[in-house]
Subunit: 343 residues, 2 copies
Amino acid sequence: MRATVMFGAGDVRIENVPDARLIEPTDALLVVTHAAICGSDLWPYKGMPPSEEGRRMGHEFIGLVEAVGAEVRKIKVGDLVAAPFAWSDGTCIYCQEGLQTSCLHGGFWGGTELDGGQGEAVRVPQADGTLFKLPVGRDDALMPSLLTLTDVMATGHHAALSARVGPGKSVAVVGGGAVGLCGVIAAKRLGAGQIILLDRHADRIALAKEFGATDIVSERGEEAVARVRELTKGLGVQSVLECVGYAESMLTALSIARPGGAVGRVGVPQAEVMPAINSFFGNITIAGGPAPARAYIEPLLPDVLEGRIQPGRVFDWTGSLEGVPDGYRAMNERKAIKALVKF
Amino acid sequence: MRATVMFGAGDVRIENVPDARLIEPTDALLVVTHAAICGSDLWPYKGMPPSEEGRRMGHEFIGLVEAVGAEVRKIKVGDLVAAPFAWSDGTCIYCQEGLQTSCLHGGFWGGTELDGGQGEAVRVPQADGTLFKLPVGRDDALMPSLLTLTDVMATGHHAALSARVGPGKSVAVVGGGAVGLCGVIAAKRLGAGQIILLDRHADRIALAKEFGATDIVSERGEEAVARVRELTKGLGVQSVLECVGYAESMLTALSIARPGGAVGRVGVPQAEVMPAINSFFGNITIAGGPAPARAYIEPLLPDVLEGRIQPGRVFDWTGSLEGVPDGYRAMNERKAIKALVKF
């Protein structure tokens, strides 16, 4: 079968790989119908050391179940299912708590051991725990929005929950990529009174305003902090969604949170450490991490199905599997916010 | 009047200072009856650069109101009152939220501008917001426990709340000083199912066991982490109370929290940065900071008055004002857990 393999920084190819097949009795075999390229795929795209073996890519996908192992009970052949960016058994202590990204018997797609979502088919471990059956057909117009539930919309929601967004609260979203934009949607959905987006790209800003951003801050560093304070009577915001992951963006996030506020961080940290002191004296809570997307599909689904939120609008590039390398390039050069792959 | 002044590392003296007096109409004048030496007083005791002017010390105290300014409404002459370690107006946006340590018109005792609690009298700014009237007389046997509500018991409680301690939860307390011991009390009071103290001093361990610690870990670093994992089925604990503030203790705290858990940090950070990555992948929440003791006196008071908690037992050294330098020495040499000063 054909699948996306990354061999080093900037080197993404569509290759022939061994066909996906059932191995464990708890597996399902999925024929991929839709996949996405993630902002986090750009981290190795920027910096991965050369590798002969390569690394299978893609962790946001929807597909049709073609076969199931003998112990799969809930998922059936023919189901259209969403695969969150982590697979999980659905029964361990962490899954029961709704933290499927820490599943004791789970893991992440791709790499060198597992199939990735940016390929024709995927062996899905722990199918009953991992997969979520969608109540629509594969050609439904909502498919882009449904695809975001496997990662970016769930991640924006996780950032908002971690930052304790609630009715009437003042919120800042650091970074207007696909996750940040979904963070704006999530903040609006949870009733935020003020939503300040920190970003400087016109396409993202335009979309953020449509999603509910009330203010835009395009300054950086200390100037950005000063501007957010101006917009919040000198106080700072109650909730910050850190959707980037750089040391500088985390510093900004911690600096614009007001005392007693919270930073929900979902950008994968690119620095080993973060500031320890100012957040202490301000009693600022730092929460977040990889979003348990599996737990959030169900609560977010009605709003997608009934059109109250339209996170699929973050996709501004669509291509085929063979076009995936172009998708990476477009996202890396910031010519696209997020790429959708249709099979 | 006589008061404690620190002139540099290891140099604490009882000096003649200007008499405390009313200045602002919102002030009260307090004659101190009881004060304490705090673990955080030991930070300057270990490292303060020499100063000719010196620094007034003490931020945990109880006293009798001798005079009040023209705008003081609630506090009356003759009241026996507790002064939390931060003064606050009780009306600003943060005070209304119960975060009096971030009061827009508040501050901290001592230094070079204000009186400290380790002295005969104190000018109390924002008296109505700051002071809490106690329902007992100055010679009450509960006075040591009541004094802990101005800082260490409130701080242990804050660590426990920040770490989301609740019924049946697994808890670790890093550091068995007075705050850590009060953290054990707080965790027990909030219904924790397992309370692991990380400390190696026999006197503290003995008291912690009486307060409700179920397990003791005296190893350090990676060995401590391994031991906590052994005690928690390999998972780590749901709640960690970081009651020290060193980089190493924070690293330990983050390493023994299980995925989805929380670290409540109340030890003043002695390092500029803290680890950013493992806590991210485990969705570990980092919360806490200076405890809003003013907000906690009222909910904790009944348990003190009715003897259900006995935080005053952390005082194992008692002296007069003139003995305060000996109290610092005893605490610094770990010959005492915490020093009580009776006037």
